[in-house]
């Protein structure tokens, strides 16, 4: 701080920012309307997951502990019975807590085929990267609170297709949710991303992007509570997250904040078949 800095801080005290006359009343009204009985998101998550290792993890001091747990894999009641070429054989669990930052990362390990092993390696690399970044953030943020939660679910497992969804939520004061989808085409044993669905000479990015933009504008026109950033949305990622809905529809998924304000969560757009069916391989 030099003399000029000190002079500015002194002037800042003498010449405060003008505050609107109604502001204090509005703050008071907002505070008065807060509902203390509503559960916080963390309370809801805790109730949902009921991690048996949580109490022990809270006592751990700045460590990341990988646990190999075949029993946990077998016990995951919400996992469907898996086909012969893709199996969840175990879960690797990382827990961490230093009193300010906490992490719960559960990574499934797949087996049964080369494609399953490839997905398993990709998921491991992805979650390793998240954990590394989390640890760096903890060092940077010092005593500020930060948490990382990573969970996964098999959302499709048919004779011909397998999709694993990995959901992550980072909280640094406010939360940020994002996901990755991993697909295996069981018919040919290949790991698949969005671009693999379409012929190489086809501009599927523009076709799907135009449809997403159209749906954004349509939804905003129909409902004033809905908000996207159509002016900032240029195109989908060539490997945009997607999954096949139960009725066979193609659904594109966007991470929180990428195309909409945070209160919109993770937007999903169901693409009508007539938009893309002629573009498929």
């Amino acid at each position: 701080m030099d003399q000029f800095d000190e002079m500015l801080r002194e002037r800042a005290m003498r010449e405060p920012c003008p505050i609107p006359a109604d502001y204090a009343g509005r703050v008071f009204a907002v505070c008065a309307a807060l509902d203390e009985t509503e559960e916080t998101p963390k309370q809801k998550r805790t109730a949902r997951h009921r991690w048996p290792v949580w109490a022990a993890a809270v006592l751990a001091l700045f460590i990341a502990v990988p646990n190999v747990s075949p029993a946990a894999a077998a016990a995951m009641a919400d996992m469907p019975v898996l086909g012969a070429i893709v199996e969840v054989i175990t879960f690797h669990r990382y827990t961490y807590d230093d009193g300010h930052g906490s992490a719960n990362v559960t990574v499934p390990e797949l087996s049964g085929s080369d494609a399953a092993q490839e997905v398993s390696n990709q998921v491991q690399a992805y979650t390793d990267q998240l954990i590394l970044q989390f640890q760096k953030d903890c060092e940077t943020l010092g005593e500020s609170y930060e948490s990382l939660d990573v969970t996964s679910a098999v959302i499709t497992d048919t004779d011909s297709w397998f999709t694993l969804r990995v959901d992550a939520e980072e909280i640094q004061a406010s939360g940020y949710q994002f996901s990755r989808f991993y697909h295996i085409d069981k018919a040919n044993g290949q790991v698949v991303t969005l671009k693999d669905l379409f012929r190489e000479d086809i501009d599927y990015v523009t076709a799907l992007s135009d449809e997403v933009r159209r749906q954004m504008e349509e939804q905003m026109a129909e409902n004033p509570e809905v908000s996207y950033f159509p002016e900032e949305f240029t195109a989908i990622d060539p490997d945009q997250n997607f999954y096949w809905a139960a009725d066979g529809s193609l659904v594109l998924v966007f991470d929180e904040y990428t195309i909409a304000p945070g209160y919109m969560g993770m937007p999903e757009f169901t693409i009508p078949a007539d938009v893309y069916e002629n573009l498929l391989k």
Binding site: F4, D5, M7, L8, R9, R11, A12, E15, P16, C17, P18, I19, P20, D22, Y23, A24, R26, V27, F28, V30, C31, A32, L34, E36, E38, T40, P41, K42, Q43, V58, D97, G99, H100, T140, L141, G142, E143, S144, Y145, S147, I171, Q172, A173, S174, G175, S227, F229, E231, E232, Y257, P261, G262, Y263
Partner: protein, 162 residues
Amino acid sequence: MTQTVLDKETFCAQVVRHQDALFRAAKAILRSDEDAEDAVQEAICAAFTNRDSLRDVEKFKSWMLRILTNKCYDICRKRKPTVALEDVADTLPAASTDPTERMTLWQAVLSLGDELRAAVTLFYYDGLSIREISGILGISEAAVKTRLSRGRARLRQLLDEK
């Protein structure tokens, strides 16, 4: 480590204690009184919902400012890319006909570029450290220093201080 979730009374007392700082930070980013009040309202609700993420009540101000700046950036993204001049006319420093009349510091701050205003406000008005500002704005400490340096140089010109 046991964590105590803030009760409503404590939470609201903290909000009231820091309400001017909240408005000032929101106004620095958004430049509109109305948008700033909206952002503060949304931030209060979001913070209360996520109040169990605050581990240390001593950090309330930084924690709340971080949530608020996220809300402000949400509002910025929702805005149309261009803004009519009359919509922000009241936020810009008025041209003075009196050559002896000085621009106030706040008028000078509001005339800074978008990137600079929040860092300058948090540093000079709230007395926060570069590290704290880095955490609140979600940018590196080097970026905070750069913004403060540019903001300081521009304020020196605007305020005609040697």
